[in-house]
């Protein structure tokens, strides 16, 4: 921080930013010490939305917990559902049918677009660009209609199941998604014309909240925030899961690690997600979406009503202590969620409920670096930096 020699020294001022503030995007609080308009010290306070998700995991069975995962990153619940069941499936050591993996990938990428669209809209709104918010939410609305038709819910999707999905995609899903894919790049183009070379936007975002590549790794950054700092790291490429190695897509990498680069990286990621979805739709295999094992996945209605084994399994899988029971052991499974590495560490004692579930939340880890990014900057930049990190309070506090 550079000191102006002509400045008259004044009393430092303490400002309470949040817990209720339009730009905090959830309930979080930062106590900032100001010297004029310069941030001298920032202390984040969190825990306002702490709901004990990890404790709940020890008291819910494996399929019940999917409902809890919806409430973590509530901008992209499908990605959480996806990451969680992958961890349980790794624990069970089962492979779900190919069609299921493809549908999961399509929905995870769609929710990445939805997440980034909201991020874009809200981030721009915080910096005064109201139009972009409307554009972003319009696109998200189209996606949420698809999600609603697929899962039955807009927000609390709970679509995945251990060993499969709630149900197959609806007739016409493909057309709806293709329709969306053909229109959303146009919106992105319009946003580019509104923001990318916009003088005000560049002044507000360039060289603001800079994180170097070394610092980004040291602070545990993942996802778009890490890539904006110039580190080429994407779990979909580095540790491919669910056939991501079959899809041809690029990983956008920034250079400066500032708010502007995080914006550009996210914009490009949406285009790349579109490419993945296009390929997944073109090659979408036929077949069942659930594993052919009634100890793990609910029987079909024909079996449940048609024969005694199906009926018994239909009840047993729901009954406490008779459902999905992975062998004792532990597993850590990380997926590339829209915000970064979403990891589930599950310890099983061989019963129907996890012994311990730990969620590695990207938002929590990114939020830690906030003081590092805003100290020495201007007070108005807090909003820009906070927006660029996409802190989701539900995931932050769990």
């Amino acid at each position: 921080m550079q000191k102006d020699p002509n400045r008259v020294p004044g009393e430092p001022m303490t400002l309470n930013f949040g817990p209720q503030h339009p730009a905090t995007h959830g309930t979080l609080r930062i106590v900032v010490e100001l010297d004029g308009e310069t941030v001298v010290k920032a202390t984040p306070h969190l825990g306002y939305l702490h709901t004990g998700f990890e404790k709940l995991g020890e008291h819910h069975d494996y399929n019940q917990y999917i409902v809890v995962t919806d409430r973590m990153n509530y901008l992209s619940p499908l990605s959480n559902n996806f990451g969680y069941v992958l961890a349980v499936e790794k624990l069970l050591d089962i492979q779900v049918p190919e069609r299921c993996e493809y549908v999961r990938v399509i929905l995870a990428e769609l929710s990445r677009i939805a997440d980034h669209m909201v991020w874009l809209g809200m981030g721009a709104l915080d910096l005064g660009a109201f139009t972009v918010m409307l554009y972003g939410f319009e696109e998200r609305e189209k996606l949420y209609s698809i999600f609603e038709k697929t899962t039955g819910a807009r927000l609390t999707t709970s679509y995945t199941r251990v060993g499969g999905l709630l149900r197959d995609i609806y007739d016409g899903f493909e057309e709806d998604v293709r329709m969306f894919l053909s229109t959303f790049p146009k919106t992105l183009k319009e946003v580019h014309t509104l923001l990318t070379r916009n003088r005000i936007w560049m002044d507000r975002t360039k060289d603001v909240g800079v994180v170097s590549a070394e610092d980004a790794i040291d602070y545990g950054f993942t996802g778009p925030c890490l890539r904006a700092s110039g580190v080429d790291w994407d779990l979909r490429k580095a540790e491919p899961y669910s056939y991501y190695e079959k899809f041809d897509f690029d990983v956008p990498v920034g250079a400066n690690g500032d708010v502007y680069d995080r914006y550009l990286v996210r914009m490009e990621e949406m285009i790349q997600s579109g490419r993945i979805i296009q390929q997944a739709l073109d090659n979408l295999p036929d077949g069942p979406v659930n594993v052919d094992d009634y100890k793990i996945s609910l029987p079909t209605k024909e079996d449940a009503y048609g024969n005694i084994e199906g009926l018994i399994h239909h009840f047993k899988i729901i009954m406490d202590g008779h459902g999905v029971q992975p062998p004792a052991g532990e597993v850590y499974c990380a997926t590339e969620s829209p915000n970064g590495e979403l990891g589930f560490y599950i310890v099983s004692d061989g019963s129907g409920k996890a012994y311990r579930i730990r969620i590695r939340p990207p938002s929590f880890i990114h939020f830690q670096a906030l003081p590092h990014m805003i100290e020495g900057g201007m007070v108005a930049d807090i909003v820009a930096v906070l927006g660029s990190l996409n802190i989701i309070a539900g995931e932050l506090d769990r």
Binding site: H50, G52, D218, G220, Y345, V347, R356, R358, R360
Partner: protein, 183 residues
């Protein structure tokens, strides 16, 4: 750990195990490689040096600390027996972005000396992750720059993720002050 096949033959040992054994002969208690995830269980003594070695060694280069958490094993008798009745285990998830390899380091911690060196000076990310572990389990981290509760209020009593802590909390509702309204 109890699951998986233990790697016994010397030449089959993964690189990290070989190197750690060379550098710190007594440190490793157990090695397992279940579901493609390499786990080493190590002694608490000298853990700080070992973790610094894992990061700084040019061949291992575990430059990324993905997660720090703990598990309360008090209800899992077989694990307790294996680790000399150490109730807690601190779990580190390391990642080498260069080699694209992950490593889980587990450190059993006894309840009577519930502390472990802080890794915050090796990885900055450890700061909050250790605060959360302290908040939830009551494990203190020595030489931590700012060891306070993070998710629970500062005056909160008890450690919610311990196995003896009830799901619905302990006494909060009984002690909650309701103001009587005079209608």
């Amino acid at each position: 750990m109890s699951e998986g096949q233990e790697v016994t033959a010397e030449e089959q040992q993964p690189l990290v195990v070989q190197k750690v054994q060379e550098q710190y002969p007594d440190a490793i208690l157990d090695v397992s490689d279940a579901r493609g995830e390499l786990t080493i269980t190590v002694r608490k003594e000298g853990i700080y040096e070992l973790m610094a070695f894992l990061k700084s060694d040019s061949e291992l280069a575990y430059n990324f600390l993905a997660d720090v958490t703990a598990v309360d094993y008090s209800l899992m008798e077989d694990v307790l027996m294996k680790h000399d009745y150490a109730r807690f285990t601190v779990v580190y998830h390391l990642l080498s972005t260069e080699r694209k390899e992950r490593l889980r380091v587990k450190v059993p911690v006894h309840e009577k000396e519930l502390s472990i060196p802080s890794m915050a000076s090796i990885w900055k990310v450890a700061n909050w992750l250790e605060r959360e572990t302290y908040d939830m389990f009551g494990i203190t981290f020595d030489a931590h720059p700012d060891l306070r509760r993070i998710l629970m209020p500062d005056d909160y009593e008890g450690y919610p993720l311990r196995k003896d802590y009830p799901l619905r909390g302990r006494g909060e509702r009984e002690t909650f002050n309701f103001e009587e309204q005079n209608v």
